[in-house]
Homo-oligomer: 490 residues x 3
């Protein structure tokens, strides 16, 4: 038994263990024929929350495409110094950072608070505060690990894990989140939900819900002074005992003070957010990421107990850089994939992601995903996309533009051709190791099948079948040398 092998298998076992940590069950509403889709649409968000320091836009989860895939999509825009209030959801989430940079904080109960102020730092911060005219006496803080994120990152958040985002850059942060409602981790119903731990947040999916939620919304309009972070539902006296604080402060935690001027889900931080973090330059950051990445690949957690393993688990991986490309054709473009082999946590979440870039007029060849739905978000430019269902009908033949979402259901065949401005996208997949079968090119159906089967299946000559196979030497991204119109004349 060679060491590298035994090592690998042990890692797999660990992954399996984590997998077992969250639920293997779920309870979604299932509609009759929900994937009998006559037509797909490239969709824009249709709900918008204007918060103090940013905007939250969401796609209608009751749309049939979303119902078929069992997912919800939300886009957060954080202004500079904007703080997305601590929240959690019963679903696993993948977040793609479309632009900007900032901090991510997660709450992993049972994990230690490993970031602690040194005396020196405290003094430095106190001086800063004094410069900013704040003269409060300040005691040292201690909290759980904080992660930096930047454009091109995929962040994975397990169900029920509280987290917050903060924009510490000098431009807006734009983040697109996928909530996987049909995953067994979500034991509630098919409605997407966020539980907030602070503030007076609005419901991201409020205008789109049915039944109770509409009613509730109606009540809100009547009652006016609705506030709905989780703490607000408890009695102040009981919380005062729980937190060992006076009722006055508890009322602030419950958001009761904010009633007249709600800051909503994203609030503005006065000055800069003061958190403890290792000092570092951009190069240092990248070097550190590289190191973390190598370690994670080498299975750093083997020597540790399980708890520490969970606590040091990598939640984030960059797939925006060209250097991370898995498929690369300098003329046509590139694709980077992030699956559970690269980011172990995805095995637990049963999700993966793909980041693609097509140069002008280049084509991502026709293919289907064997074992997952694909949720495509247009990051830049436009493409003509065609999608075909099981009965050979074209259910989508249109442009997909920046900022739009298109859902390609499992096994539906899809082809993309970039416009003259090129096209970039991120795709979330509802499987941690999505398997793609291309119709043409390397690794394609055409090359795997014997020429005589092709000849008989398509009623073409054996020479044509052979030529079909030989012409399929390209990788999944191609830049046609001849235009379609030229070809038509041939």
């Amino acid at each position: 038994m060679a060491k590298p092998n035994s090592f690998l298998y042990i890692s797999l076992c660990l992954v399996v263990l984590f997998n077992g940590c969250l639920a293997k069950r779920w309870q979604q509403q299932q509609q009759f024929n929900q994937c009998q889709l006559d037509r797909l649409d490239a969709l824009e968000p249709n709900n918008r929350i204007e918060a103090e320091a940013g905007v939250i836009e969401s796609w209608d989860p009751n749309n049939q495409q979303f119902q078929c895939a069992g997912v919800a999509v939300v886009r957060h825009t954080l202004e500079c110094n904007g703080l997305l209030l601590p929240q959690y959801s019963p679903t696993h989430q993948l977040i793609y950072i479309v632009q900007g940079r900032g901090y991510l904080g997660t709450v992993l109960p049972g994990c230690p608070e490993t970031y602690q102020d040194s005396q020196q730092q405290q003094q430095h911060q106190q001086e800063q505060e004094q410069e900013q005219g704040q003269s409060r006496r300040f005691r040292g803080d201690r909290h759980q690990k904080i992660q930096h994120f930047r454009q091109g990152d995929i962040i994975a958040i397990p169900a029920g894990v509280a987290h917050w985002l903060y924009n510490n850059g000098d431009s807006e942060v734009v983040a697109v989140s996928l909530l996987d409602l049909n995953n067994q981790a979500n034991q509630l119903d098919e409605n997407p939900r966020y539980f907030y731990l602070a503030g007076n947040p609005e419901d991201e999916f409020q205008q789109q819900g049915q039944g109770r939620r509409q009613q509730q919304q109606h009540q809100q309009h009547e009652q006016q002074n609705n506030n709905n972070n989780v703490l607000s539902g408890f009695s102040s006296e009981l919380l005062a005992d729980v937190f060992n604080m006076d009722v006055q402060t508890i009322r602030k935690l419950q958001g009761s003070e904010e009633e007249r001027r709600p800051r909503k889900n994203i609030v503005k931080v006065d000055g800069e957010l003061q958190v403890i973090r290792p000092p570092r330059s951009r190069q240092e950051q990248e070097r550190e990421e590289e190191r973390e990445h190598r370690q994670s690949g080498r299975g750093r957690d083997v020597d540790n107990g399980l708890e520490e393993t969970l606590c040091t688990l990598r939640l984030r991986e960059n797939i925006g850089d060209a250097s991370r490309a898995d498929i690369y054709n300098p003329e046509a473009g590139r694709i980077s994939t992030l699956n559970s082999n690269k980011l172990r946590l995805l095995n637990w979440l049963q999700l993966s992601a793909e980041r693609g870039k097509l140069n002008r007029n280049a084509i991502h060849v026709a293919h289907w995903t064997q074992n997952a739905h694909t949720v495509i978000y247009g990051v830049r430019g436009t493409a003509r996309v065609q999608v075909v269902d099981d009965s050979g009908r074209s259910v989508f033949d249109d442009e997909l533009q920046q900022g739009q979402v298109l859902i390609v259901p499992q096994n539906f065949a899809v082809v993309k051709r970039a416009s003259s401005e090129g096209f970039e996208w991120v795709a979330f997949k509802t499987n941690d190791n999505a398997q793609i079968t291309p119709l043409a090119g390397q690794n394609s159906v055409i090359r795997a099948i014997p020429a005589d089967v092709l000849a008989n299946a398509y009623q073409i000559s054996r020479e044509d079948a052979q030529e079909l196979k030989e012409n399929s030497q390209d990788i999944a991204l191609i830049r046609p040398s001849r235009t379609s119109s030229e070809r038509r004349v041939m």
Copy 2:
């Protein structure tokens, strides 16, 4: 590769294997918005079967709370010498022994009959029989392993495994069972079902079902002579061939003889039940349990084949004793949890349990369960419980009393304060490793989040944020030193 590590991982793999043994699929009815609960209720059973030697009470599985959690709950009360007839269910089950002691027999097909009468024992038993005036000639018996159970035990029964319970103590046995309908092991629909192998049992969920069941019940009233153990549905002649017995005896197995005087689901054993069991005192029993427990922790099954592993799998663990507490505060109370790390079978069942005890006026701090529903059963005393949903609304703010069930859906926040008589509960969780995030105290959100995030999120001063964190030093169980009324004045 250090030995202890390799050992651990191998054990995990084994667990995974067992996990694979039962189905990864299910088919539950899913209702629209089934977890859009306006209000939760502390529920009492609303169906009751009075059997010959005990009572079966069940909670309405069509109640919206139960539908949201996808579970059913039943309470069995066995009189002394009461025998719950052999039965099985398509769902996994957890049983908590509220009081009493007795035997549990399970049928694991393919496992050997390892309990056998010695000649001596037979003679002894024959003598006993003769003393009791029974003069029948008696041949030696042999059967599968039998387990003792006692107050505070959790018993895990996999889907489809036939089992029986017998009260061999001198007081009633009270057992509360959770049936996990939404687990993939249950491939039938959302209706809870028990299949009986003997007797003329009544349907535990009869009065609550819809459609077919009501109709069927109606037919029963007309036909009167309904009998419904599984054998009764086969033709007597075919069974006579199968069992190689005369039709007369077969008719008895089918329960046809009992029509006029049905003993129903729990029958009285004449004298004491004569089963083979190792002789032992109470101390011996506890010592043996301790030994079994140690062995199971050390992975005794590594050297054995798979079948033997399944056959010697531990089905039972005591969480009632104070010595098993995982969280302990002599002033406030204690909590013992039973997850798949302690009882391996739970990994397969995807269920876990918690046994809690709050002293008078003590508080179990506000928290949410990340990855599971929580089904709380009041064992003793009363508590005031508050539950909050995702929109910050209080969906429960009431007393939870002994004998009542309250379901806290995944991610809903909950706090409990014991009354002046204290409160004890058992909670079933729909995940084998339920993760809890406390809002306050050690390991809480408040302590994991940087003080400046708290200050900005709650619009409190940084000093207050720091105090909030520093005051949260307690464990999850607290006994407030000051009363709420005192605090309110502050």
Copy 3:
């Protein structure tokens, strides 16, 4: 750590990995009380497609029995030289070869094309072609591995994997396929679907669908020139670029040429299909199978990388031969089971199969399956079958004949008695390791339970209980020595 052990566990881990490769989620329509079945029926197919070189028959997936089990069943009959066009499905499939022999080709993307023409073979084939009057110049081919199949084989096809079947024998090939719609691998809705890569196939489940499909069918009748392989839904110009071929050929791939004379799903190959395959005699074939089988048992894939492991994964296993029997009674018959311990891929698919043969008047003793539905297909002869539900009602008491399907839901008890002509069947089970509990015989409930429990449960004497146990020495297949009528007189 002993070598054999470490070996076993590593294999398990690998299996777990594959398991993770396909989705852990699904989205089936769930009806209220869908398993509240008043009556089961032995069903024949009710949809039929007459193709150029064969017939496809399917069972109505909307039938309540099929809805309860969440499966669909299709029977393919391929004439000599018939080719089932390349297709794939979002569900896992098990195929049983009822009769005949042929080739199976699968497309595993990322796996190499390992079958290549040698120069010699090419010449030989060219000569053959010339003899057949074909004078085309022929270039060497290369394609993925092809497998032989023969009567008694179970073939496992994962979701989304394209495959084709060809009859190279001298009699019809008859194949029965199970599509597991409720498995999490299927992320689409409850409707069974095949995606075809060539030809003008008809929808196998067309006449049975509802809503959209009926409408669509209606449109077809009006439009007449419907063609529906997946390629037909893309624009010809885009495909011309993708395949780097002229539009004329692309139109052929799309099936547009075939409009007037559709060959449908199964087409006739002119002459014999020319694929590359190792030359071998029947004995060689069997010897090779034996070798493959041994290797797979010994875990040949441990030394290879993961991709190669997937690429050399065994998809096929014969359970038709008497030599593979797991339960054997020369007087009564035999049963062979194929579970994930024998064919590793089944762990991923969560399916297993059973092949049974009862001699005239022999009985397969009453039993229930703990963790799976059972889909029985009658292969030869007839049997009287009785099925009993949870309330002890007989829901089936009738003949099951060759060519019929009967579904026995999870935990329902079933007994079979062959007619005077005997009975053979294949059963698909919706669990990779279906656990059966017999009511009588070895390993049965009766033998596992203490005699005194039986005596008290059934109100029979302890002697009768003991006799009941002692008479249950037989294995699951019995040939009653006395007839039922004789017994009745006793």
